[in-house]
């Protein structure tokens, strides 16, 4: 893009030819990513709706399934993800103020926190295999786990864990894609591609990252918390 830059038009770095000016381009970028996020709401919405139906049908089984998850690990992981949203918001702010070093550092911090989240998620998935509560592959709950699942029907609890893996798995895929986008931003940010006038990629990836955070904000209570722990 540097070969089309003109010293007379510093505001026009990163301006695509179909737009009148950077302001119009930014408004289009924001509307575009939000329309994409709307399709994502529809995508996850189907899962949330089917979760609601089956939870209302097999309430005790879903409560028993929730009870087996460790709410404390879920809470800590939620805070880690909220922290990554903070660093993401701060990296957008650093792009606005033209602080390239802070931009790259905050983006890397966001990636690290995202990685911690996925690491904890991997540990939790492993725990499911240890407890033999993986639907289809390894479904043989025993002992205390079985005692929690028994009141709602052990086979019905399998349905809860299908939702658990499908919803957290889809969320984790979104995280992995987001981390790929963050890496791309880090590489571009280091080269100084973003200026206080042009930082749309940072902002657009930021909106995506916050959206993935919002999905988790709902997954956490629905999967972990409403499990009759009293």
């Amino acid at each position: 893009m540097s070969d089309v830059e003109s010293p007379l038009q510093p505001d026009h770095v990163g301006l695509a030819h179909q737009f009148e000016d950077l302001d119009q381009q930014q408004q289009s970028d924001e509307l575009g990513i939000w329309l994409f996020l709307v399709t994502e709401i529809m995508f996850f919405g189907g899962l949330f709706a089917s979760y609601a139906i089956y939870r209302s049908f097999y309430f005790a089984a879903f409560e028993g399934g929730s009870h087996i998850l460790d709410a404390r690990i879920g809470a800590v992981n939620t805070m880690v993800l909220l922290g990554s949203s903070l660093t993401m918001a701060l990296s957008v702010r650093s792009a606005q103020t033209g602080n390239r070093r802070a931009l790259v550092l905050f983006l890397i911090a966001t990636m690290i926190l995202g990685g911690v989240f996925l690491g904890v998620k991997a540990y939790e998935y492993n725990q499911k295999f240890v407890e033999h509560v993986v639907p289809g592959l390894d479904w043989a709950p025993q002992g205390e786990v079985l005692a929690h699942l028994a009141p709602g029907g052990v086979q019905h609890a399998q349905l809860y864990f299908i939702f658990y893996f499908a919803m957290t798995g889809l969320h984790a895929i979104h995280m992995v894609i987001g981390m790929g986008l963050l890496l791309w931003l880090v590489l571009r940010g280091r080269k100084g591609s973003f200026t206080p006038q042009y930082f749309a990629p940072v902002e657009v990836v930021g909106l995506y990252w916050h959206f993935v955070d919002i999905v988790w904000i709902f997954l956490f209570p629905l999967l972990y918390l409403i499990g009759g722990r009293y």
Binding site: Q27, S56, T78, G206, L222
Partner: protein, 108 residues
């Protein structure tokens, strides 16, 4: 996508509020509120979502078109939930006519 630069402090306070709400919802999970268990958990999640949308995603300073798109998305989701649940949860209210469950008529 406003050019307005939000003070760093604002983001920190929003983050601390989000952490507080996470701790609150986790704590409440150990208290039996009867039929309000799910509602309280979802109400706190909704508050957290609004904090993220308004401050981290900076929709406070977004234009009307973006706001309409967001509201439309949630309106669509409300329709999805309302119609799906009103279907599934009311199917048992009236039994299916007997003729529906009998074997299809045989034609000579």
């Amino acid at each position: 996508m406003s050019q307005l630069i939000v003070p760093q402090k604002t983001y920190i306070y929003v983050f601390l509020s989000l952490i507080g709400l996470t701790a609150l919802t986790t704590g409440v999970a150990y208290v039996d509120l009867g039929p309000f268990n799910t509602m309280v958990a979802l109400a706190i999640a909704f508050s957290k979502m609004m904090l993220v949308i308004l401050f981290f995603m900076n929709v406070r300073h977004s234009g009307g078109l973006v706001r309409i798109v967001i509201v439309a998305a949630f309106f669509w989701f409300a329709l999805l939930m309302a119609f799906t649940m009103s279907d599934y949860r009311t199917r048992s209210w009236t039994p299916a006519p007997d003729s529906w469950s009998s074997a299809p008529p045989t034609h000579p």
